[in-house]
């Protein structure tokens, strides 16, 4: 007789759906406690922001470096998490199933990021007559002025990414919310679960996912260039936007793995979340960590070898003098620590190992954003149109308001995620059900083997 799906304890689709629906209906004390904690920390971040605005205003960028870094960190990690759902759904990876909804839920943090981005628009001058992606410098004077560059287009790109992410969440959760409502005796709305509806849903998710992915890469590139690289005179690093795009894949996967672990451990979902999910994700995480190093090295070797005074100043600013400790921490936590952790098969084949690596990566990303944005924001307005960086600014050490904004921003993201998880089931009912149906255990010669069906 065939066993069901190879994971003790065995469960059917009906058992899984009932369990998820029941869990979704309850709010535990731990959840409420963390809602309060993150909410209060978020409020403290708002207080820090107001204090900073009152004391320093928006005329100079330098006091807002850590705020910008926090915004960039949230964009690179939380807002980028849906890429996990997009990429592994397109690849047809079965191990994606417990984590796709977690990844999609993080799209709600985009609302916070858009709100945080608005004050940043006042901190950066227009693209006219300086070197930017919008090519409105004197050499190309005949091109004329592009209205609103870069502000209008950056905010539009960010809003588009957030809308795409939220749309993906809404569509993906539609069937599940209908399930929940029907179990609660409420009206089910228009979702019937017909073959046509499922077909449209799947194709729609694939298309939305593709759009989201391309928008995310473009937005990361635009914002990182306009709000950091373009503010440092002479800094021309073609690999920088690709690095930022890679960081968003890195951060998105890391935050998803961390949340998956917390859900398994504190949400008591051990029967649905197994070592194999962490094992599969850890291989991608290791590859992305290696790619992080590769992209960094590609940029470094060219600047190091060129040895022009500008390149040497840039290396000193971003890596070896002014912000060297941020760089060492970013390098160590984004590359070395995950590599040394994930190199060992026994560590990859655990739930804690990949989670630990994810924590390293998230911390490393935070320091990396601080390194880039605080450094870029510390260039005075008068100097950003210079031909080359001639004088290194002093290191900007964070004060209490900066720390409040950093902690508040991250807590605000977690707070929003927790709120969203009350509205949408935290694990996808339909995708997990599909996975249960496509998996069984059968005897082959003298051993039991898992048989996995292809979903398309």
């Amino acid at each position: 007789m065939e066993r069901r799906n190879g994971h003790p304890p065995e469960f059917t689709v009906a058992e899984y759906v009932k369990d998820l629906a029941n869990r979704h209906a309850i709010t535990g004390p731990r959840y409420r406690r963390w809602l309060w904690i993150t909410g209060l920390l978020f409020l403290s971040g708002v207080v820090g922001f107001v204090a900073r605005a009152a004391i320093d205003g928006f005329d100079e960028r330098q006091p807002w470096g850590y705020f910008a870094a926090t915004m960039a960190f949230l964009l690179t990690t939380f807002v980028s998490a849906p890429v996990v759902a997009v990429a592994f759904r397109m690849a047809g990876a079965h191990w994606r199933r417990p984590m796709v909804r977690i990844a999609e839920l993080y799209s709600v943090v985009g609302v916070l990021v858009v709100v945080m981005f608005i004050p940043m628009l006042f901190m950066v001058p227009s693209a006219h007559n300086r070197r930017t992606m919008w090519f409105q410098g004197d050499t190309l004077g005949s091109m004329g002025k592009i209205f609103g560059a870069p502000h209008v287009y950056d905010i539009l790109a960010l809003v588009a990414v957030v809308i795409a992410g939220l749309a993906m969440l809404w569509f993906s959760a539609k069937a599940d919310r209908t399930q929940i409502r029907s179990r609660a005796g409420e009206s089910v709305g228009t979702w019937l679960g017909s073959w046509k509806q499922w077909n449209v849903l799947w194709k729609g998710l694939v298309m939305l996912g593709g759009l989201y992915f391309m928008m995310l890469i473009m937005t990361q590139a635009l914002i990182s260039i306009d709000f950091s690289m373009a503010l440092v005179p002479g800094w021309r690093d073609a690999i920088f936007p690709a690095q930022q795009a890679l960081a968003s894949l890195h951060g998105g996967l890391a935050i998803t793995i961390l949340t998956l672990y917390l859900l398994r451990r504190y949400g008591h979902m051990e029967q649905y979340i197994h070592m194999e999910h962490f094992w599969a994700a850890s291989k991608i995480l290791l590859a992305l960590s290696l790619l992080w190093f590769y992209f960094w090295w590609s940029g470094f070797i060219v600047f190091w070898y060129g040895r022009t005074p500008l390149e040497q100043n840039l290396l000193d600013l971003l890596m070896f003098k002014t912000y060297k400790w941020y760089f060492y921490l970013a390098f160590g936590l984004s590359f070395l620590a995950p590599l040394l952790t994930l190199l060992w098969n026994s560590v990859r084949r655990s739930t804690f190992g990949p989670t630990l690596a994810s924590v390293f990566i998230l911390t490393g990303l935070l320091f990396d954003k601080m390194r880039v944005y605080v450094a870029a924001f510390s260039i005075p307005n008068a100097d950003i149109t210079d031909h080359a960086l001639a004088v290194l600014p002093a290191t900007n050490i964070p004060d209490v308001f900066d720390l409040m904004m950093v902690v508040g921003g991250i807590s605000g993201a977690v707070f929003l995620f927790l709120l969203a998880a009350r509205v949408v089931p935290i694990m996808s009912i339909w995708e997990m059900s599909q996975g249960i149906k496509l998996r069984t255990v059968r005897r082959f010669l003298r051993i039991d083997m898992i048989v996995m069906g292809r979903s398309e």
Partner: protein, 168 residues
């Protein structure tokens, strides 16, 4: 002890035969399976293969790294010519060549390890039949002289198409 080779055209019959061998007192150490394609581990009841292949790339990598570092350091010190304003012992280029040396060492030693752990080249191969590469599953077993007939009967009952004995 003389060796016996039974050939099965059906892999399920071969699996049943290994079960029968175990019941007859022949442990995993006494018999071996010969196939023309990899089967999942344990499909014929064989024990998990223990190997130390993973040690070889580490040794190779260390050796490769040492040689590359030595080479890059010694050559630059032997001919100390400043080029492009870079220090004589420039770490980034040394790192690149050391990296390649490390990987080369790891790869070469991995292949040495593969040959070593696979026990190839194998000059005293034992009983073999070319039908194995045509899809037959072969089971070789070391049998005492006085039990040859009994084991042959066991294989025939399990569905063996042919049973070969050493010297036959």
């Amino acid at each position: 002890m003389p060796q016996m080779l039974a050939l099965f055209s059906d892999d399920q019959e071969a699996a049943n035969a290994t079960e029968a061998l175990e019941q007859a007192g022949y442990g995993n150490d006494n018999f071996d399976i010969l196939t023309d394609a990899p089967y999942p581990e344990g499909a014929f009841g064989e024990r998990e293969t223990k190997h130390k292949l993973y040690v070889f790339p580490f040794i190779g990598a260390l050796l490769g790294l040492s040689v590359a570092l030595l080479l890059t350091t010694a050559t630059q010190i032997a001919y100390p010519l400043v080029t492009g304003g870079k220090p004589i012992l420039s770490l980034p280029p040394m790192l690149i060549i050391s990296y390649e040396g490390t990987m080369l060492g790891a790869i070469i030693f991995t292949v040495i390890g593969i040959f070593f752990e696979s026990r190839v080249p194998n000059l005293r191969a034992g009983l073999y039949d070319p039908r194995i590469t045509e899809g037959y599953v072969g089971i070789t077993v070391d049998v005492a002289e006085d039990r040859l007939n009994a084991v042959e009967q066991l294989f025939r009952r399990a569905g063996a198409e042919d049973v070969l004995k050493e010297g036959s």
